[in-house]
Symmetry: C2
Subunit: 368 residues, 2 copies
């Protein structure tokens, strides 16, 4: 309730068209977004927050599908590190998503859902839709663009392709290029979905069936990668779930099994399987250096922005080494960049969880 | 051809019955095994090699299903680290497997395949079947029991429950208890199989359908965990497969995607999905300390064996830390134990691959 009241807008922008990296042009593109706080007269206090793979625009408002607080409620609000009494905060559902922005579950111009007719998009296409949103809001230059995980990739993409649009770029637990292991995990998730007969080549809308089983498996596999081995051990270890002895069967004997099954199942209630395909595809395609003959530093040549890069010591999905590579590239490009590896036990998900040191880094960077 | 010729037996032992940890008794239990070399007159030169999750008895002979060399061909043979001109080497397909030993695809006493009527087994049950094989072969005490991964767990289980049956215990890339992250990955694999409608509650034998799609996804996810991030990066990086540009589609654009799909698909040609369920279940149940109030050292109290424990620095599935815990327990139990962490880039699969340092450790330990 307290969180919902701080929203100043919950709206949908419609773009007549959006040209995509893949060469196609999407028509009638919706961008669902929320804003918090008040845009200053000089329009200099806007902060764009980009969400991660399965996030959404409800950064600090109650999520209408789950009834749970916004995914970064702890970070965004009055008096919080991203202080909505000071900043005008914007968060949009990504292109390809399923929370109001145009994606594979949206209706195509022929009145039928896109399904797999939806074009493959890139991280930059997601950013492109958000740049159009900034144009519509009359924001020429962001005070800060910020994001964790895929959100950090969007921040980097904006810094690279629209360098004048943000004064500060905050990149948390992300990378400048998706690595082989992550591409592999993403492929497993997609194969799990596409192996489900209820996927029906992506044309499951309106059939009363959806590839929930495949999507749940995809989520389970991904979820393991978001947590550290240490946090799984501390949280669950080998403890049994609601029993005193092993069942000698295939029930969820262990708490970690029960937890994972719940994660998989509940995910299917809030996420569209085709969106998962398209968003993970965009991530696996992400490589900022690709257009610069492999020289990541050239992606940021002449950038006027200040950067802050954060990694977590327990994150094995986007480990500190990839952040360090990014920082080296930014330094080589002459960009002012601060870098911190935070100690937190939660693995990749640390950026979403209670890590007070992250709060201080975020507040400090935005206050500069 | 050269490898096949060193086999001295390729046989199947039938046990009238086998009492299991879960309380049930299996009747008419087959144990498919191979032997290499000659058993000495004093029967003191027998080496039992235990295979890993998806391995089989074809340790150094051509695999009849794949036509490929045995899975430890590089380690076992005349003049090799496990020298068949000196040792009598035995390798049996595990109980629950699908290469000739009794498992869920075997016929139950009613003439129909067990399917999910097969009892849930443990690592110790697998060892129990192999102890019966040793009895049948007249081998009272092994010179060495050796294994990597699940094979190492079997070696530990024998050392704990039948301490007089082996003079030397060689444990490579294994653990004394399955950790939460590994239980989680195993659960994902099982859920992928059971989510496949062609699984049909496990009763797919003879229906012309099998849960190949689910089994392939399970294998893909597991396969990632067998490799290191470094080896995936070196082997594949972000290189494209048979194309010069991204397809902007869902084909296997990247080599690592194509490789994984192949791994998944080819696995279904040689492995039974229900066996995968039962074997991973046995692994997740594995905890040597469970019967000793959590004190791992007590599992080896009074053991007369010498131990050698090997880990690999790039193995994140069974990292050095878990081997170290095992070594501490063995030391606390007063067992002579040598421990080495080898540097190898291949991740968990290092125990199967070209790591000359491992050859020297194995040869050295068997020569003691």
């Amino acid at each position: 309730m307290a969180t919902a009241s701080i929203i100043t807008a919950n709206d949908v922008l419609t773009l007549p068209e959006l040209a995509l990296d893949g060469g196609q042009t999407l028509r009638d593109v919706k961008v669902a977004y929320e804003t918090y706080g008040t845009l200053a007269a000089d329009r200099g206090n806007a902060v764009l927050i980009c969400h991660a793979t399965t996030g959404d625009q409800h950064v600090a408002s109650t999520n209408p599908r789950t009834g749970r607080p916004g995914w970064w409620d702890r970070m965004v609000g009055p008096g919080k590190p991203i202080d909505t009494s000071r900043f005008f905060v914007i968060c949009a559902n990504v292109l390809g998503g399923c929370m109001g922005s145009t994606g594979p579950s949206s209706l195509a111009p022929d009145g039928q859902p896109y399904g797999m007719r939806f074009p493959v998009i890139t991280i930059r296409d997601m950013v492109r839709a958000q740049v159009a949103l900034l144009d519509a809001l009359g924001i020429e230059r962001l005070h800060t663009i910020a994001g964790g995980s895929m959100g950090g990739m969007q921040a980097l993409s904006l810094a690279s392709s629209w360098p004048e649009r943000a004064a500060r770029v905050l990149v948390i637990a992300a990378t400048g290029a998706m690595g082989a292991q992550n591409i592999a995990f993403q492929e497993v998730g997609r194969q799990a979905i596409m192996a489900d007969p209820d996927w029906q080549g992506g044309a499951y809308y309106g059939t009363g069936k959806a590839p929930d089983a495949g999507l749940a498996v995809a989520r389970m596999a991904a979820h393991i990668t978001y947590l550290s081995e240490t946090s799984l051990t501390e949280k669950f270890g080998r403890r049994l779930q609601d029993r005193t002895a092993k069942s000698f069967g295939f029930d969820a004997d262990f708490q970690v099994e029960s937890y994972l099954r719940h994660q998989g199942l509940s995910f299917t209630e809030r996420f569209d399987a085709n969106s998962y395909l398209y968003i993970t595809r965009a991530m696996s395609y992400f490589d900022l250096a690709e257009e610069h003959q492999g020289r990541l530093a050239d992606s940021f040549a002449g950038s006027p922005a200040r950067f802050c890069v954060v990694s977590f010591d327990s994150d094995w999905l986007y480990p500190t080494a990839v952040s360090r590579r990014l920082v080296h590239a930014l330094s080589a490009a002459g960009a002012p960049v601060s870098f911190v590896e935070l100690s937190a036990p939660f693995g990749h998900d640390s950026f979403l969880l209670d890590v007070p040191a992250l709060d201080r880094v975020v507040a400090g960077f935005l206050g500069q």
